[in-house]
């Protein structure tokens, strides 16, 4: 169990590194799917099978497909890859990367010096999650329903294209 955890974690880290260094966005999204699958494995090992299923269905399924649809709508040409290469020069990324690595070092120091008490390895199945979700967290469920509704309305409103008005007398009434 322990070794599978480390292998899945290593795959997640490696594929995430590949995501943020690719020039072609479709290749980056393929690595992103691998990263999500590895994280789903980690969730399963940690005893959260329901979260693992949701990770695959929603993250690796719905969200990545949504991003791919938008990329297809944008209809990017081959020059986009060269443009990315010009944008990602070492003098651009070296500073933020070093600062973030210092931040990561602090995080690792804090977490590994943390005193943890012993705990029990136990599977938390979907039934317990559902009871908790529709028991004490029912308000949160309703609020996230409203958030999704706001997301739908916002995406529709922002994504709407302005209509082209053909007739010159109608130009003033445009939207």
């Amino acid at each position: 169990m322990q070794i599978t955890f480390y292998i899945a974690g290593a795959i997640a880290v490696l594929s995430t590194v590949m995501v943020i260094t690719r020039f072609n966005i479709i290749h980056a999204l393929l690595y992103l799917v691998v990263s999500f699958l590895a994280l789903a494995t980690v969730f399963f090992i940690l005893g959260a099978p329901f979260a693992a299923a949701l990770e695959i269905i929603i993250y690796a399924g719905a969200i990545v497909v949504l991003i791919i649809f938008v990329i297809m709508m944008l209809n990017l040409k081959a020059e986009a890859v060269d443009e990315e290469k010009r944008w990602l020069t070492p003098q651009v990324w070296i500073g933020p990367a070093i600062l973030s690595i210092i931040l990561l070092g602090e995080l690792i120091y804090i977490i590994s010096s943390m005193e943890t008490t012993g705990s029990i390895a136990q599977m938390v199945d979907a039934k317990a999650v559902g009871k908790s979700l529709y028991g004490e967290y029912i308000l949160g469920v309703e609020l996230s329903g409203m958030l999704l509704m706001a997301g739908i309305v916002g995406a529709y409103h922002l994504g709407r294209q302005k209509k082209k008005v053909i007739h010159r007398f109608l130009e003033d009434v445009e939207e």
Binding site: F5, V19, A48, A80, W87, A97, A121, V124, L147
Partner: protein
Amino acid sequence: MNEVQTVSGLLLAGILFVLGLVGVLIRRNIIFMLVSVEIMLNAAGLAFIVAGSKWAEPDGQVMFIFILTMAASEVSVGLALILQIYHQLKTLDGDAANKMRG
């Protein structure tokens, strides 16, 4: 044994979060910036799952589901914004959207 797993799970969450942060900081393509924000949200969800697994309580997974909901609505609104920016400016460069001189 399980204690090691808690610490290394939190370490994995930290590493993924920092990788997402690096992605947001170094990329100029706004689609890559959105993907990096997704990576950071996912790392936060992993931290919740690890904590929930440590105490063997369902609360961590409940919080993960809320983060998932938020990520889904965030990515839909963000992609609509990206479509609008691309149609207005004809580029995916995040630095091109500087009409407000921010």
